[in-house]
Symmetry: C2
Subunit: 446 residues, 2 copies
């Protein structure tokens, strides 16, 4: 190790063996190196080939981080039954999704519709030439871009996708003189498309540079272009699904002591508040993503992409709004959601991760379009369950049961102690201190 | 099973044993039930007590979903060295964070500052009385709310936190007549605070109802209040950190063939575009959260909460904007980020999840305030690395190496084949088809 480096820093770490990395970490950052070393190794996967895949997915991988893998059965979506895989570390999320799925199972299930799957990417560049000239010859440039990437896009075109269109855009808001975007729209079929799109865009950047150098209609001063970057956008409002539940208001039945009418009225109020107040909207949408992300992760997709797209789409007319809407017209309860996203069922980790692969099988090997609809339905179900709890019993009822459970686990309570605690705290407020006190007293009294 | 249920639906699923659940799933949704059953069991954790914890975290848990657990060493934050745990399924994220950490290690490291940790929650209610009267007696109501929850908040107050203030708010944007919010601000110390806040708010809802019933200054018509919900907000702009890197522009050195000045100018352009164009802003921020979420997950925190808060905070003056900013004044490169979030280092899963606990130890058992600063620094590092790649080599260079790796894994290539493929594709475009062809030819030629 280089002696002049600050303490606990290291050079060449990424090139060390996995065991070497672990050894360096435990020796520098842990009190009980040997024990931690053993513990980290304990979370390696049973099958070596699986662990190799996990190790190769990321870099500097030293062990695995296990998340609970759960299922929510009874999702009827467009008449078909799904048992949905969910990966989440938050308690009550899967229970809530399952409960909403079951509620709607007998009320027609979820109705979803694909709006489109258009992805988009940009080549950002600065060019000091005459804009009219560029626009005049744009069709020629477009043809060149398509032609020179024909080989790159051949497979995607065979699958029915590829480049949809190429456009030139100036963005007046951006305070950079002579700044342009090549706007490229794509259909990437069943893949999320990030690699495909970025590869095409980087090729476009090279072709664009060459075009300015060689096309006959430019002056010498117009031959220079500064390509800034070429990159897909995770903002894909045109890759979007609609998910909805609906029934006659009276079919909602009595819910936690509220009549169907009262429930529907309160429910719509809650949705309207989230549409108009950012403080409520953020939490409301967070609840939707509790369901969305759980399926996105379980199927090996990229939840940061889905979150970024969904939250930015929530900005409408300059306000951040709740993503779901509710109407009670003509005696009908309607509750719906439009959600943009980019997910895949081939490529990336979807078939590579050993469990993600099984998630896709559990869902009947859906196409990307079908998976988008499943995800949106689960988001809507999650939102329905959360708002239903909020406006009736309050969410703490379910949550505190889980919270008590977690505290008991952390205290290492026996089954007998746990049973007694659950009984005791039925009508009391759960806090760590109160549970610890209870367990202590319980031990003393035994 | 109830015969009248739609096919592949089930009643009483949550009450079945774990093995019973798995059996039902594999028999109903998989072609090779026995094999899948064995496979799902293979991902149970080695130690039964660990698996019990995982099972209890969520519901209907049937196995675990392993994510790669990685580390990014060499993070100097406010002069202290951290080796940061990261959990992500996306390739290149950890490599990029590590590379940015190392780059800044010799340029003063990351400078972070806590702005505040104020959390907030609301009791939403509709009350048809005279607003002036409610406001006139509000101090009395406030005292009552504090007094009657004194026991609930005692521990948090002992730790230096608790309720900061209570306010009454009307929200003109919300189209509901007579709608009010009790706005309650909190300091929840080292816990994320969701359970504490929601418990206090639900108690407030009960006290509020009682207050309207009994306070002497209300008329009979003013005694009714409709409490709609009581819930924390994930929008916490006042729980926020600032993270920054800075150095003299010439200290940046030559980067991938660009001089320090050129690099700095291009970097600032990229940041400015993300500040003003939503298509770029969303992807830009997604990159920040690639780093942020990886640490949030590794420490057992709730990434949906952090995502929702950060993305909604990105909405400024009615536009969704990039979260980071850059300036080049007085020969100094400055790059910074302000990020709101709610995370904890006690409570929730932070100490319960076997690996999350070790993540906190790796970070030196940080306070929540310290963890917020580490997370923001990693987000900034991630953003720096992504933009650096974008404006120099393009991101596909690193990405395609990983993509090739993934394809080789999926094809089950041998080490010899993989080495040859890496060599062959050094200067060629990687696609599944091209790699498969190469491996086939390689086999034939051997």
């Amino acid at each position: 190790m280089n002696k002049s480096l600050p303490p606990k820093t290291i050079s060449g770490f990424s090139k060390m063996s996995k065991l070497g990395k672990i050894r360096w970490i435990v020796e520098n950052f842990f009190k009980d190196p040997e024990r931690v070393m053993q513990e980290l190794k304990q979370y390696w996967l049973h099958r070596e080939e699986d662990q190799k895949i996990l190790d190769a997915i990321s870099e500097n991988t030293i062990t695995t981080f296990p998340m609970p893998y759960s299922v929510a059965p009874n999702f009827i979506i467009n008449g078909r039954t799904y048992c949905v895989p969910m990966v989440t570390e938050e308690s009550s999320v899967v229970a809530a999704a399952s409960s909403a799925a079951k509620f709607w199972m007998t009320r027609g299930g979820f109705h979803t519709e694909l709006i489109d799957v258009e992805k988009v990417g940009h080549v950002h560049f600065v060019w000091r030439g005459e804009e009219a000239k560029l626009r005049q010859h744009f069709d020629e440039l477009k043809a060149l871009l398509l032609e020179q990437t024909a080989e790159l896009t051949a497979n995607m075109r065979k699958r029915g996708g590829g480049i949809r269109d190429i456009d030139l855009r100036t963005v007046v808001e951006v305070p950079i003189a002579h700044y342009y975007q090549l706007v490229v729209t794509f259909d990437t079929c069943d893949s999320m498309g990030a690699n495909f799109i970025n590869t095409v865009l980087e090729a476009f950047a090279r072709i664009l540079r060459q075009y300015f150098l060689t096309a006959p209609h430019f002056s010498d001063a117009e031959r220079d272009v500064e390509i800034l970057m070429a990159i897909l956008s995770n903002y894909t409002p045109q890759s979007r699904v609609h998910a909805e539940v609906r029934c006659a208001i009276e079919e909602l039945g009595e819910i936690e002591g509220y009549s169907a009418e009262e429930f529907a009225r309160r429910f719509k109020m809650a949705i309207d508040i989230a549409r108009h107040d950012i403080y409520r909207a953020v939490t409301h949408n967070k609840g939707i993503f509790n369901g969305v992300d759980a399926v996105v992760i379980a199927t090996g997709n990229d939840f940061r992409a889905v979150e970024a797209c969904g939250h930015s789409y929530a900005v409408q007319d300059g306000l951040y709004r709740g993503l779901s809407q509710c109407s009670l017209d003509d005696g009908t309860f309607r509750f719906w959601l439009e959600l943009p996203m980019a997910v895949g069922t081939v490529g990336g980790l979807t078939r590579l991760h050993p469990i993600a692969r099984r998630s896709l099988e559990l869902l009947g090997f859906p196409s990307a379009k079908e998976l988008m609809q499943i995800i949106a339905a689960v988001g809507l179900a999650q939102n329905f369950a959360a708002v239903r709890s909020l406006i009736t019993t309050g969410i703490q009822k379910g949550h505190m049961k889980m919270h008590l459970n977690n505290i008991l686990l952390e205290l290492g309570a026996t089954e007998e102690q746990s049973r007694a605690a659950v009984e005791y705290f039925k009508d009391k407020t759960v806090s760590y201190r109160a549970v610890a006190d209870f367990i202590r007293q319980f031990k003393n009294s035994c």
